[in-house]
């Protein structure tokens, strides 16, 4: 049964709901859908799952972009209603005929809807019947195909495996695009745990839209569910062990370039640095010049221009003067393709670029092109707006204010730095410490990297230079315990902020991830800061989503702590390839709080959203 069908404007006014269905929805699925899916540039997805106490809904939607209308259908997830897409399309068609922006009440649509629904239901049941006749062979073939695909996608490791899936299939696939509002995620993974048995919960990652397993699993529809599921579970296990070995063989990574040679001798002649390296760049407004990039851009856009030329310049000019009737998928395709390629040359992960383009397409399809505009510029503007939306933090990133709040409660403010190996955690921890010192906040460091040799000494060097206390317990101890003692020590000696350095770990290293989860659970820090390299491309998605996933899965508490913020390092080395910032923010929903951009303590900045968007688009 359909639970509800709503029609509302993009401005947020409900125009019509089905009174016949009438039953009130539990929780607020519509608002959640808008906030954590449609406004997060995930509207290209096929459906959205919403869980509230006593309800598990699936929501589907469609836009009428020219009229600015949104149509949403809500139904119980267990029902797998087949006719919903069909019905939504018909409702959209029917309603757009009678819609008038000045009119607010559409009671006469009740009757139309009743008919449409009956039609859709009848058609669906007919389809089912005809399918049942030729059921068996088709189903088998499908199963095989699915298994193969699962293996393929997994082995490839890079996300480009997705590109191999045909277009039609991709749009049909039930990508479980969940937002990442905390509560939602927990319930989701719990629920799947109940349904699929507990073991599955770790591999079945309904919560993250990037999850390939989930995507592949659901692609075959419910019938192949169990089979594919088993396969993918094995796959993932294999993968983990493989990764482990790689990890063990890997030599301890090179020391961060910044540190002085560690060891007794080196330590003696370290000059003391009393906050005199000047102002941290965090406090400086960045003047962004994009002259050099502009030139490059022209080349990029020429490519798309050439493509447009193929269509014949006369017809395209005529179109641009008269304004086209309405944009359809085929019109948008070339411009979107060019834009996607451009994003990817800026190092945006392919998967993210793909999703963004889908979302932009969803918001433009059916829209009328204004006179004297080109499709490519319309698409570009829409993308620009989308990028600004994504990169604008959802919550305040005013750390100093948070520190003051903690101060009032007489608690130290605890920041845990996490990330993979060699990204510059300790160096940037020191930069953050320097910045805090400049604002008269007393800082303490906690050396909780008890895994890699030399890590503690490296941090000690920084602490001496900055003349701030450091809490260390050598390499023997459990990092979670070290952190706990450090925090206790901080409240004793009145330090206002504790910066916790942790061991770098690959996202697939189960034991180390478990240790991290323990550290975070035990100490409930105020901020979990993911330190990531601005150089990463497709791997950014994998790192962040796996970190979040592991933290969620391994947590013992019902409300697991996830990554709250991102620190991007080595930003000075990437030129215009700023895509990692976008990939990381999109996939985790966490804002970029700091940007490390050089070798000295002052080289820490805020992210300049405007300049990043400019660089990405051009």
């Amino acid at each position: 049964m359909l639970e509800q069908l709503l029609i509302f404007t993009r401005g947020g006014l409900i125009l019509w709901t089905c009174k016949e269905l009438g039953n009130a929805l539990k929780g607020s699925p519509i608002d959640t859908l808008i906030r954590s899916c449609l406004l997060e540039e995930r509207s290209g997805a096929a459906s959205y799952n919403y869980d509230a106490p006593g309800a598990a809904y699936t929501l589907k939607w469609t836009f009428h972009n020219e009229l600015g209308l949104v149509f949403v259908a809500v139904y119980q997830r267990i029902l797998h209603l087949l006719y919903v897409d069909d019905l939504l399309a018909m409702v959209k068609q029917g309603f757009s005929e009678i819609y008038d922006p000045k009119r607010m009440v559409y009671d006469d649509f009740d009757e139309t809807f009743r008919q449409l629904r009956m039609e859709a239901e009848a058609r669906a049941s007919e389809l089912k019947r005809s399918k049942q006749v030729a059921m068996k062979p088709v189903n088998n073939a499908r199963k095989q195909g699915q298994d193969q695909k699962t293996g393929f996608g997994e082995n490839k490791k890079s996300n480009s495996g997705l590109a191999d899936v045909g277009d039609a299939e991709r749009t049909k696939s039930h990508q479980l695009e969940n937002g990442y509002s905390n509560g939602n995620r927990v319930i989701e993974s719990k629920l799947t745990a109940v349904v699929n048995g507990k073991e599955n919960a770790s591999s079945n990652v309904g919560a993250f839209d990037v999850n390939k397993l989930q995507k592949l699993r659901s692609k075959g529809g419910k019938k192949t569910d169990t089979v594919v599921n088993k396969g993918s579970k094995e796959e993932s296990k294999k993968k983990v062990t493989k990764k482990n070995r790689v990890w063990d063989d890997k030599p301890v990574e090179a020391k961060l370039d910044f540190t002085d040679p560690v060891g007794e001798n080196g330590e003696n002649n370290i000059e003391v640095l009393a906050a005199d390296q000047g102002q941290s760049m965090m406090d400086k407004e960045e003047v962004f010049s994009s002259d050099s990039e502009d030139e490059e851009d022209e080349e990029g856009s020429q490519g798309s221009k050439l493509e447009a030329k193929k269509k014949g310049w006369f017809s395209s000019m005529f179109q641009s003067i008269s304004g086209k009737a309405s944009l359809d998928k085929a019109d948008l395709e070339p411009a979107l393709k060019a834009l996607k390629d451009r994003l990817m040359t800026k190092n945006v992960a392919e998967e993210i670029a793909e999703k963004l383009c889908e979302s932009v397409a969803a918001s433009l399809e059916g829209k009328k092109l204004a006179s004297f505009t080109r499709i490519s510029s319309t698409v570009q503007n829409a993308m620009e707006e989308a990028l600004v939306r994504i990169l604008t933090p959802r919550r305040s990133i005013d750390i100093l204010r948070d520190v003051h709040t903690a101060q009032e409660q007489k608690k130290p403010y605890v920041v845990v730095f996490v990330g993979v190996n060699g990204v510059g955690k300790s160096t940037n921890l020191a930069k953050v410490a320097y910045w805090l010192l400049q604002h008269k906040v007393s800082v303490m460091m906690a050396a909780c990297d008890t895994f890699r040799s030399g890590a503690v000494e490296q941090l000690r060097t920084h602490a001496r230079r900055l003349q701030i206390p450091i809490f260390e317990k050598g390499y023997e101890k459990d990092p979670a315990i070290v952190a706990k003692e450090a925090i206790q020590e901080a409240s004793r000696n009145g330090s206002e902020v504790v910066l916790v350095d942790t061991a770098g770990r690959m996202q697939d290293n189960e034991p180390l991830m478990r240790a991290l989860s323990k550290l975070i659970n035990l100490n409930s820090p105020d901020l979990v800061l993911f330190v990531g390299e601005a150089l990463v491309g497709n791997d950014a998605v994998d790192q962040l989503s796996k970190f979040n996933q592991k933290l969620a899965d391994l947590s013992t508490s019902p409300n697991p702590r996830l990554i709250d913020g991102i620190l991007l390092t080595k930003f000075d080395t990437i030129d215009d390839k700023v895509g990692a910032a976008l990939s990381m923010v999109y996939i985790s929903g966490a804002p970029v709080m700091f940007v490390g951009c050089g070798q000295s303590y002052t080289d820490l900045k805020k992210l300049n959203v405007k300049s990043i968007v400019k660089t990405l688009i051009k």
Binding site: L13, I14, L39, M104, D283
Partner: protein, 264 residues
């Protein structure tokens, strides 16, 4: 070669023609009596000046009122209440601003012709905040809607948003008046405007410290609030900041209408 030569000749001819016309034109000007000329120039100057003045005048008397505030505070309900006197069948989270130029619903029946208002309901979702900056420079007034029912958990977020508005360059420079509207006053558990006023002042006082620290270097475009060394109060703002209660859902919006009339 020949073509080029021909072309040259043509150009020469054109030149001669032009010179001729120019002479004729000048002669014509000389024939006009000087007084007429002066009058003509004066008229031209006068009209351009008038145009410029009306432009300036118009800009100062903009009729744009913004509805801002966190998501879920009740802006869209308020928008339709002011426009149509009804919130229709309810609302969901807005994805785009609602805009409209109209005479307030309660004033339609009034005899004397009133100036229509351009009302903009800016979505509260933080991802859409950037939209507000587009509208602020032209605004004649800002209504900052606060959810009085669910106030405490949102106090800090609301204060941060309000802080950003109060320190916005256009708001400070043009002294755009701000009305803090404690919405949902129809419910008995709603906080009073006095309480909300006080809590937000306290919160902004704290924000002042941390924000000014962040923006040491860019004071030029980020204005500081209040008097240094003194607890912050809205009365210290150079623009007028007032507090009022309302209920968008129940249509008790007289104080908003009053605010709009004062500023449009």
């Amino acid at each position: 070669m020949e073509g080029a030569e021909q072309w040259k000749v043509q150009v020469e001819q054109l030149k001669v023609h032009m010179e001729h016309w120019l002479e004729q034109g000048l002669e014509l000007v000389h024939q006009i009596p000087p007084i007429q000329l002066y009058v003509g120039v004066a008229v031209l100057l006068f009209t351009t000046l008038l145009l410029l003045l009306t432009r300036l005048f118009n800009r100062r008397k903009s009729n744009i009122i913004l509805l801002s505030g966190l998501s879920g505070s009740g802006k869209t309900v308020l928008f339709y209440q002011l426009r149509d006197g009804s919130s229709h069948q309810g609302t969901v989270t807005s994805m785009e601003p609602n805009e409209g130029t109209f005479v307030l619903h309660s004033e339609i029946t009034k005899k004397d012709k009133l100036k229509p208002v351009h009302l903009v309901d800016v979505p509260g979702h933080s991802r859409l905040r950037a939209k507000l900056d587009e509208f602020l420079p032209q605004a004649a007034g800002v209504v900052f809607v606060v959810d009085a029912l669910d106030f405490l958990p949102n106090c800090r977020a609301a204060s941060e948003y309000l802080y950003d508005i109060l320190t916005n360059a256009s708001v400070v420079k043009k002294k755009i008046p701000v009305l803090i509207l404690c919405n949902k006053a129809d419910k008995v558990t709603a906080h009073t405007k006095e309480f909300i006023n006080k809590q937000m002042e306290k919160e902004i006082d704290k924000l002042r410290v941390s924000r000014s620290a962040i923006s040491d270097a860019d004071i030029s475009n980020d204005f500081t609030l209040g008097v240094p060394g003194k607890a912050f109060s809205f009365t210290q703002c150079h623009n007028k900041v007032t507090v009022a209660e309302a209920s968008g859902l129940k249509g008790e919006v007289s104080e908003v209408e009053q605010f709009i009339r004062e500023n449009v």
